[in-house]
Amino acid sequence: MKRVLFLILALLLLSAASHAEDMVLEPVPDRSPAARALLFGIGRTNQLDTYLSPMEYTGLQASFMLQSERMTRLAKHHISFQSTLHGAFSSTDNPAGTANCLGGRLAYDAAWHYHWSPLPKLDVKGGASVGADLGFLYNNRNSNNPAQGRLSADISLSAGAGYSFRLWRLPLRADYQADMPLVGLMFSPEFGESYYEISQQGVGHDIICAYPGNALSLRQLLTLDFCLRRITLRIGYLCDIRQSNARSLKYHDISHSFMFGFVRHFQLMKRTH
């Protein structure tokens, strides 16, 4: 049986190879080049969750960001689609250094931006995104309330600008983007609600509406792209501010990270004879 499968596979490959000699690769019409960036970050974070402690915890945060962006055919190729997966892991201590918190976050955003160029080499964009955020904060010392879960989904305003320029003949591109959630849903237990009650009544009981009045958050990313031989490298600064003040519980996670990574540009191709 294995031999038969191997034979079929070999014939298919030979057939493809014989056809390939007559084919050429061409860019797919209406599919603009796409850019995909993978960034890693290291920075400091400041966390407060009054469900766990009234103290602010500070420490290191490691993160990654996988971002891809391409222009779409919408609005005469003026609208881009951007996909961002952002993950972070933190280890923080209380001011006295007697307790530690471990935190983790995974967020996904899909954004659509309208682009225009008010100046040569300046690209301004504005739009909206939808996203979801999942995370936790675990305090290694608390007994009956050792951890807090975070779950939210929101619609955000998103805007940014990019500028291409040269410095000492080196082509560079600076980008800035800010995202601010406008409205959504988030999980928040009540002030003194125990896990036992949450489990008995269900998590749905603790899903509330989030808006800037009770969950004012902002993510800002400033990056600089430059080429080193044939590789496009990216360095940047990420300021991620997540906050909520709901049901008499305050939460914030304010991180400042140095980001570094690389960018790859893709063009979707098709075979033609």
Binding site: E56, G126, A161, S194, S248
Partner: protein, 346 residues
């Protein structure tokens, strides 16, 4: 050009909004506590004032005003005092609450108030129980120890609800004891543990869904900001259940989850609670901390009985009984003997 001006205006407005957000984002901790003795006392006082769930009840029962406690203990502070001295003052302040779920955990010591058991007779001789009743030929099913007494009474000891019990343990135990005429379930000295163990054990003593009490939690910082009480039920186990009389032996050391178990069992048919009043501890504890780094535990969610009555200071037995030291010297646990007599009369 006009269009470009409007774009520029939009960008400026956007940047202004972000600037305002950044300003708003500069929120620091819950409050600006300092690490001085006064700062730590303020932090502890505020923590209890906002989060502790029995303040109104205890102010009434114990006759203090929490607002007055702050000045009373602030007067005992001085900026040069040592950590040990500060620890003592803060422990004294918390002992006003007379709550076993309120603790300060430090590397120095565990701050506690155990008057709920220390001020009363223990009514338990573990050596006597072990030697004269359990003996050496008894069964161990996870946290449960059990045997059959000579008068065909099942004798079960459960020393801590932190010791997990599984459905398999319970089914095997009840199968082994099924021919007995009754059961003595001895939880004297059981200081609590996991509520799920208490619930799992309760489920073996009812054939119907039983309302056993209510639970609520604080919804805000006010002393009386509570959620609507949530009814708590015990559902009958789908496995083997006990159908004969039970005497539940309790003492002042029955606390927290053990207190909740007694509350549940009081609502069960064929169950008689015998012994001393339980220790109480009906507030589900939460943890927090002080600027100095010490961990604080406090009662956050109060539980009530099926009639919405407080059980923070314990539950009265149906039949009072105490340990007779003279009989103990003769090798008899008078409470177990009382339970045997009661069961033989059914």
């Amino acid at each position: 050009m006009q269009w470009f001006s409007s774009v520029k205006g939009g960008v400026k407005a956007f940047l202004l909004i972000f600037f305002l957000v950044l300003m708003g984002a500069c929120q620091s901790g819950e409050s600006e506590y300092d690490t001085s003795p006064q700062g730590n006392l303020d932090a502890l006082w505020t923590l209890i004032d906002e989060h502790y769930c029995f303040l109104t009840y205890k102010e009434k029962e114990l006759g203090f005003k929490w607002a007055d406690i702050h000045s009373k203990y602030s007067a005992k502070l001085n900026p040069e005092m040592t950590r040990v001295q500060l620890f003592e003052v803060l422990c004294q302040m918390l002992s006003e609450l007379k709550d076993g779920h309120v603790n300060i955990s430090t590397s120095l010591d565990l701050g506690r108030n155990w008057t709920w058991k220390e001020d009363y007779p223990e009514n338990l001789d573990t050596e006597l129980r072990q030697q004269q009743y359990l003996g050496t030929d008894y069964h161990i099913g996870s946290g449960l120890k059990y045997t059959i007494l000579p008068d065909n009474i099942a004798y079960v000891v459960y020393e801590s609800f932190t010791d997990a019990i599984g459905d398999g343990n319970l089914s095997d135990m009840l199968s082994y004891l099924q021919l007995c005429n009754g059961m003595i379930l001895d939880i004297r000295g059981n200081g609590g543990g996991e509520l799920t163990n208490a619930e799992r054990l309760s489920q073996r003593f009812t054939n119907e869904k039983v309302l056993v009490g209510y639970l609520c939690h604080k919804t805000g910082t006010g002393h009386d900001d509570f959620s609507e009480p949530m009814a708590e039920y015990v559902e009958p186990s789908s496995s083997i259940r006990w159908q004969k009389p039970v005497v539940l032996l309790v003492n002042r050391s029955c606390y927290s989850a053990a207190n909740i178990f007694v509350r549940n069992m009081k609502e069960m048919p064929r169950v008689t609670v015998m012994g001393d009043q339980t220790g109480g501890g009906s507030g589900m504890p939460f943890s927090s901390e002080l600027p100095i780094g010490w961990s604080i535990r406090f009662s956050a969610s109060p539980s009530f009985d099926a009639r919405m009555q407080q059980i923070e200071f314990g539950i009265e037995p149906d039949v009072p009984s105490s340990l007779d030291t003279a009989l103990a010297a003769e090798g008899k646990d008078s409470m177990i003997e009382d339970a045997r007599r009661l069961l033989s009369g059914f």
